[in-house]
């Protein structure tokens, strides 16, 4: 059990695959080369999607977009142990995790283009829409987890949030509730070390985020978030624990966002290039590549093949999303309530009247 052996109070971090691609054989999880290759492909798709998304925003074809470059291992490995019946409740930097759990890239693109239907999840895909208010959604995950426990359907809810969200009161209330109700919930914190521009040492006085679990009476584990094997192993343990009725866990995945907070942010204002370069050397994709290469499971030809295939997949998704017609402006009133309120109906009428005046003018 990682939760027993790694004490966050002692700053002990689970690490299996080192930055130079060496694997700690004593801790190796049950992942064969083919699975690692699959995860590598998934991480590469996320990276390509992310870069394309930034480019789309710069061209005015995407709205403000939250980048995830550098955090691909967190998302690929943490979703890998999940089953379709499990839930994902995420923040805005988890496009990759949502995709891993079944949300098509086309839909995700639609969301970032500002179309409400980007949040209309396909049937059977247990993913909640992106939650923008920081720290608001872990409560929803606890609700889903508790519902799963009540229905005895064996599902687990996983919620993703950042280091900044851990200072939010709602996250405290969510973890407390999950602890006392033994809800099958996994709290997955991607500590990318900055809440926009606020460094984590100015965010909280606790040396690790994992140790915050002590306040709620469940395990907290610190894991190298750029290490797919460690994230997978720790996540698998937490998911199994939740599924067999053992209650929630908190996972702190120590990682780094290589890009900006969003396309509306300039990170050079608050961090220096040397720091970014250091983390480039700890790129989660690079270490998997080194690992596979050493085992004869990676070649340049395969890499080119992958790049081509994944780029095609990303381009296709973006094109498909752009082909969806723009919704009419009054659509914005439609999906807040099952029955629109009188105030909303009034606002809709006012908007339509204004649009008519504009057309005549």
């Amino acid at each position: 059990m990682f939760a027993d052996r790694y004490d966050p109070l002692q700053d002990e971090m689970v690490s299996i695959l080192t930055p130079d691609g060496c694997c700690d054989e004593t801790l190796r999880p049950d992942l064969d080369d083919e699975q690692i290759r699959t995860m590598y492909r998934q991480m590469l798709t996320m990276r390509l999607y992310d870069r394309k998304a930034v480019s789309m925003q710069r061209q005015g074809r995407f709205g403000t977009y939250a980048q995830m470059e550098g955090q691909e291992a967190c998302m690929a490995a943490s979703t890998y142990p999940l089953e379709p019946r499990d839930w994902i409740v995420s923040s805005y930097r988890e496009t990759g995790a949502m995709w891993m759990h079944g949300v098509p890239l086309k839909l995700l693109s639609l969301y970032w283009m500002g179309n409400e239907f980007g949040s209309h999840m396909p049937d059977g895909v247990n993913v909640l829409p992106v939650s923008i208010p920081v720290g608001s959604h872990p409560l929803h995950a606890v609700g889903l987890a508790y519902a799963g426990k009540y229905r005895q359907d064996g599902s687990v809810a996983v919620t993703y949030f950042g280091d900044g969200a851990t200072s939010e009161g709602d996250v405290h209330e969510a973890m407390n509730l999950a602890g006392v109700y033994e809800a099958p919930c996994v709290f997955f914190c991607q500590n990318n070390q900055y809440a926009i521009s606020v460094p984590v040492r100015e965010q909280t006085a606790s040396p690790t985020i994992a140790q915050k679990a002590l306040a709620y009476g469940f395990p907290g584990v610190l894991v190298d978030g750029n290490d797919i094997m460690a994230v997978y192993a720790v996540m698998q343990e937490a998911v199994e624990r939740a599924r067999r009725g053992g209650g929630p866990s908190l996972i702190e995945a120590y990682t780094y966002r290589l890009g900006a907070h969003t396309t509306a942010d300039d990170p050079t204002k608050y961090r220096d290039d040397a720091e970014v370069e250091f983390w480039r050397s700890r790129d989660p994709l690079l270490r998997v590549q080194k690992y596979l290469h050493a085992r004869g499971a990676w070649s340049e030809d395969w890499e080119h093949e992958l790049l081509e295939a994944c780029t095609g997949e990303v381009e296709q998704a973006m094109n498909d999303a752009e082909a969806v017609p723009q919704p009419p402006p009054q659509d914005m009133f439609r999906y807040m309530f099952a029955e629109p309120s009188a105030a909303l109906r009034e606002q809709e009428a006012a908007l339509l009247a204004a649009l008519q005046v504009q057309q005549k003018g």
């Binding site: 939010e168 405290h172 407390n176 100015e202 606790s206």
Partner: protein
Amino acid sequence: MPVEAPSAEKLLDMYARMWRIRLFEEQAEYQSSQGKVMGALHTYIGEEGVAVPACAHLQDTDYITSTHRGHGHCIAKGADISRMMAELFGRSTGYCKGKGGSMHIADFQVGMLGANGIVAGGFGIATGAGLAAQLRGSGQVAVCFFGDGAANRGPFHENINIGAVWKLPVVYVCENNQFAQWTPQKDVTLVTDIANMSPAYGIPGVQVDGMDPLAVYEAAGEAIARARRGEGPTLLECKTYRFHGHNFGDPQQYRTREEIAEWSDNRDPIKQLAAHMRDAGILSDEQDADIQNTVQEEITAAVRFAESSPYPTPDELYKDVYSYDIG
């Protein structure tokens, strides 16, 4: 740094304050039963051993924030019991001119920033007071009293977190009386000890027997001194018990008479302090009777003051809500 033991004078003062709370609350309950008190009443009986020894380390310039169960904090910090009683009676001579009632008593002159009807409502105010003190470099300290139920609320988390990051001179004192209204603590929090939540904030967590005034005096003294030295907050949990219901009229079906008797008969903080003072030769029977009689007279005078004071007039209704007049 060890906390100096309280002097005989200090102990006598603490003892009188604890009686002042006890007798004030008993009188308030009686007056409530007579229909004289407006609104809900939450008494501090049984918890006197927390607020009094904690506030014994504070000056009038230091701050406290309180809860819905605020009379004890007011009295411990030196508020005027006549104006308190008048407020309970809804009279214009009360602290809020008779318009706030039991849960809104504040006295800025003695650093009492207010009782609060909102569970966990005091955290932001205490933390803000601590920030103000830090910015002014005044050496003031803020003590935030709250209950076990409030520990599950977001403001607990957000304020202790930022108080810890900024090393604010605030002491967060949990009066763990084991019930959030009617709900036992174990039903709403997985950890038994609130003090054990402190690693989440990287600050010391200290647990103390809240029925033992001397133990609270020492632990609070250390935490307050630490805050004053600029070393940041402490989470101090005082295990305590309210002898009466959550509010006056609470049928208390969630606990047994035996449990209540176990605490009130054997662990009463006033009795414990009296026993200590007698052993130390500080308190004679005569002195004890004198203290209680004097306090009783104060309470009687407070009731007389309240009863003889006028009610606010209807045109006062919209006044004092905002700094400007909206009436």
